[in-house]
């Protein structure tokens, strides 16, 4: 698929930011996304299926998302596609957390 991930040769994207003391994760949710994703690799979704899923993110959204936001997109897409959870269950949980943890 000719998606937004295939950036070789593109111009005007800015320099690659290099952090001097880059942490493994920039916040706790990133670590959680990594852990849940890893629990599905080989178990449910081959790594390449996960990569393909993140490349399906709409191009504008893809280019303005952080690395682990793309992972989360892929995770939710595959978990709903393969009926491990439903979109409604994800949204219910988000609403629930918004109430208890404002």
């Amino acid at each position: 698929m000719n998606g937004p991930h295939d950036m070789g040769g593109m111009h005007n994207m800015g320099s690659i930011p290099i952090e001097e003391h880059e942490p493994v994760f920039h916040s706790e949710w990133e670590a959680k996304v990594f852990a849940i994703s890893f629990a599905t690799f080989a178990n449910y979704f081959p790594v390449d299926e996960t990569r393909q899923a993140s490349e399906l993110m709409p191009p504008g959204q893809y280019l303005s998302s952080r690395y682990y936001e793309r992972w989360l997109y892929a995770l939710e897409l595959l978990m709903t596609k393969h009926n491990l959870v439903t979109q409604a269950e994800i949204e219910d949980r988000i609403a629930q957390m918004a109430q208890t943890d404002p």
């Binding site: 698929m1 000719n2 295939d6 070789g8 040769g9 890893f38 629990a39 690799f41 080989a42 178990n43 449910y44 979704f45 081959p46 790594v47 390449d48 299926e49 990569r51 393909q52 490349e55 393969h82």
Partner: protein, 122 residues
């Protein structure tokens, strides 16, 4: 550990092995190689709507086989849960001028690991 999308839960021991050793995509298939070192090849011109590891900027470009890495499962089909289609992977050397035009240093090269299905003979 090999890639098998089984939909069965891994045991804790299996997860520990996966985290410690990583995942090998190498295949034990004896699929013959389509190309050999020093062969000139062309990356296929293709625009599949599905997953591919062949970058756009290399499509239609000519390069040289520098190394045969052996046989690996094919991500372009594994990503779609199709056949693992084991095949040879090669390090292909492309001249910068072939990819980006005349205004490039003559000694610059780009190496891409590409699969049999990404390549055609010249």
């Amino acid at each position: 550990m090999s890639i098998e999308p089984s939909n069965e839960c891994m045991t804790v021991a299996q997860v520990e092995v996966l985290l410690r050793d990583g995942l090998s995509c190498q295949s034990e298939s004896d699929t013959p190689a389509k190309f050999k070192v020093s062969d000139r090849v062309r990356a296929k011109v293709m625009h599949p709507q599905t997953y591919t590891r062949l970058p756009r900027y290399a499509r239609g470009k000519m390069g040289t086989v520098m190394r045969d890495h052996g046989v690996y499962v094919f991500p372009d089909t594994v990503g779609q849960r199709l056949d693992t289609k084991p095949q040879h992977v090669y390090s292909i050397r492309f001249a910068a001028s072939e990819l980006w035009g005349a205004n490039t240093p003559t000694n610059d090269f780009l190496f891409l690991d590409l699969f049999d299905d990404h390549l055609e003979p010249i």
